[in-house]
Symmetry: C2
Subunit: 476 residues, 2 copies
């Protein structure tokens, strides 16, 4: 390889130095997050963290870049979307593509035999960005996984319980956890007579049933993928049977029907294993009060190769936003790094999709309340009437800060009351405390309720010595 680097380096410096000043930009497919977005995100991240830590989960973090060899061969076709770092003399690095491979690498590297961990961090994909549809090249992922050898289905149940609690906590609306089992899919393929070479393609056709009618899916199977019509119809008999359709939200009943001695599943070892595991799982979920959210859905056939047991997807009922969380059991992934398998099960939250929904909601609420999306957590604006009172505003602020109350005093030396009011109203700051020379002499201040249900009520007069107690009472 001729060494062109020095030449290219010089060329680059010359071009950069000659560059005229231009309007600054961010990289394609990336974006700045503005304060109102950060407010929504921090609240959601806090809520999710609360759920994870309540279940005794630990947090880990991994570097934003991995050795390229760590990522190689893990993403199939999608490997071309990996961001590489330049070779600046040293190791060959790439930006992480997801949090699952770094987690498997972490478990292998640290010789961890069991861990219940969450990880929220940004990942990078050189995809064609569709920014109007919320698809970016830099975006956050939020994963919760439990790795370790345990009695069957206990960690699987807790992962699903955590997913349910997370969705409840975020109040995104009515949700459903669609659940199936990889070995049950394998059994259906075998019993329907699908050749092993076509299994994957047929599963990916099945997975489209949430968007397309059976006729379209069947056509794909038979015409595009060369499955025999008889096999396609046998698949239909499994996944769209009357029981499968009617009992999907009564998972224990559907399970009982599928476990009947005269059901074809009884002749298939994979199916029997899956049904036994699901029986334990549904029992555990019932005890954890999470079974209500489960839909036992034989049409769910998630694409990823590495799943080995239960698989699931969370959807918002009646909304067309696709899955907002998904996961399953993957017992082989860690072994790809260490040679020693550590079984694992987990869920990945589509946290950017959640952020989008929460941002919309927040915008609607703010519009209804007549202010902008909140950007800060300020509870009190300390305002004044008349001149030369900045020091006094500042001292009142200091008193509030010292008591843990979020307050601003306005940097303008002599602001007009109206503009201070406008600022508080626009920003959605709940209270405005204000005083002039007269109030100060009497050791008092007035308080206006700027937003919330009591907006518009009369100003209240408060002793300056009582303001902390007053504000605290207002904000609870």
């Amino acid at each position: 390889k001729p060494n062109l680097e020095p030449l290219l380096g010089s060329l680059r410096s010359i071009m950069e130095a000659n560059q005229a000043r231009r309007r600054p930009k961010v990289a394609k497919g990336a974006r700045d997050l503005v304060p109102a977005q950060m407010m929504v995100r921090q609240a959601a991240i806090g809520a999710l963290t609360g759920v994870f830590t309540r279940h005794g989960a630990v947090a880990i973090d991994t570097p934003v870049f991995e050795l390229r060899e760590t990522l190689t061969g893990k993403y199939g076709e999608d490997s071309k979307l990996i961001y590489d770092l330049a070779d600046q003399g040293g190791e060959i690095l790439s930006l992480r593509y997801d949090l699952t491979v770094p987690f498997a690498r972490y478990v292998a590297l640290h010789g961890v035999s069991q861990i219940k961990r969450y990880h929220m961090a940004k990942v990078y994909r050189r995809d064609n960005p569709q920014m109007n549809r919320g698809r970016f090249r830099e975006f956050m992922q939020c994963d919760f996984d439990i790795a370790g050898s345990y009695p069957p289905m206990i960690p699987d149940a807790e992962v699903l319980k955590v997913a349910a609690e997370a969705l409840e906590q975020l109040q995104l609306g009515n949700f459903e956890i669609k659940l199936n089992h990889r070995q049950l899919l394998d059994a259906m393929m075998a019993l329907a007579g699908v050749p092993a070479s076509k299994t994957r393609a047929i599963c990916s056709a099945i997975d489209k049933l949430d968007k397309e009618p059976w006729s379209a899916v069947r056509a794909e199977m038979v015409e595009q993928k060369g499955l025999s019509p008889a096999a396609a119809d046998r698949i239909h008999g499994f996944i769209l049977s009357e029981d499968a359709m009617n009992l999907r939200r009564q998972p224990q009943q559907l399970l009982a029907a599928l476990s009947a001695p005269d059901h074809p599943f009884s002749s298939n070892a994979d199916a029997r294993t899956a049904l036994e595991q699901l029986k334990i799982l549904f029992d555990l979920l019932h005890r954890m009060q999470a079974l209500d959210h489960i839909a036992f859905d034989l049409t769910l056939a998630r694409g990823l190769d590495y799943y080995t047991g239960v698989i699931y997807e969370v959807i918002l009922v009646g909304e067309n936003v696709g899955a907002i969380a998904a996961g399953g059991r993957y017992d082989g992934l860690v072994g790809m790094f260490s040679g020693k398998d550590v079984p694992a099960v987990g869920v990945s939250f589509g946290i950017e999709r959640m952020f989008n929904i929460l941002e919309q909601r927040a915008a609607e609420r703010a519009a209804a309340a007549g202010h902008k999306l909140r950007e800060s957590q300020t509870q009190v604006l300390v305002a004044s009437i008349g001149k030369n009172l900045q020091m006094q505003r500042l001292e009142v602020c200091q008193r509030l800060w010292a008591s843990g109350i979020a307050a601003e005093f306005g940097y303008k030396a002599n602001p007009v009351l109206k503009e201070q009011w406008n600022y508080a109203e626009e920003q959605g700051i709940p209270l405005m405390l204000f005083f002039g020379a007269e109030e100060l002499e009497q050791g008092t201040a007035k308080i206006k309720i700027v937003s919330g249900p009591r907006k518009g009520s009369d100003d209240e007069v408060v002793q300056l010595s009582d303001i902390v107690a007053f504000v605290t009472a207002c904000s609870t």
Copy 2:
């Protein structure tokens, strides 16, 4: 340029595919953060966020990579430490090197005229890592800045107040904010007769006075940097005068002495400006109850070119860890992007250094309490005696989770009480709740205090219906 990429690409794939499985690694100079480290970090980040939001600050975030042209020409010599992304057809990108340049780019791009923001995020430097000394290639920075045109010194005072509150909140120990003014340094250089061409070099010598005696610094000035001995001695007369030494922790007194009509500063316009600004600043800090932490230190001469006003550094008194926060006023940086200056002042916390100190403290506390560094926030381990009680443990856990209490039930089907106790003790979980068939029949459980001041007290018997109230009372 001959297009070698396809060839190199094929070569790379062949090499990667032939690679034997090896022990996984992380990139040089990067590291995983393990759960115990994350606990310490999350607590510190929470404390700092609390301070920033109390002052009405907003959060922003920027992409981990910037267009390379955004970073070009901002870091002088250190530009060689910037991580570049590979050219994969598209824009030329680099990883961010700090949070200040992205902030200036953000302000310019979004046309922001005023903002009070904080930003905590990782930055990247291809430095020679000294991992045993806590220097990594990927590390977190934490910046708080106020940009906008305001009456003099108001935002400067609030930045210093925020720095003081942050240090108080983290309880790192006794600290001092060393403070000086760029124009005062310029004035001293001019009055001492330092040629303009040597000003920067002489300032960097002065900055070493916290580590070296005057004799060494003088030698550097005269012998290495060619300053006349007379000029060096005049500098000594300014920065190490009796007043400068004795009154550094009484900033208003030192200011008064330097502002006396017979002081050489009275003849210098830069000095007069600086002293007037410092007078306002000290007044404001006094009102904000933050002046106690200030050391007005004429020997502070921070290197960075872009400072235009006050400069400061926070040190831990009596500890040899260097500055743990630093900053100042930089009125020209935003203008480099937009052509329109937006004056700004800020502080950057050496948050990795803080994390190190807090990790050590946490390790000492854990050792004293006889457990490992805590990894999770679990408050209660739900344990059992005898066989087949996992479902019951799980149900009790569910009751605790539903009340927001962090609890674990242990995944082993039939654990021995002793091993459950050992786990709780080792992990520093405060309470262990346990029961056997007998207690369950009576609707009760026993509680052991595993850690904390009441460790070793007798087991208490609690009604299962009362456990939430009991645990809540224990943890407050």
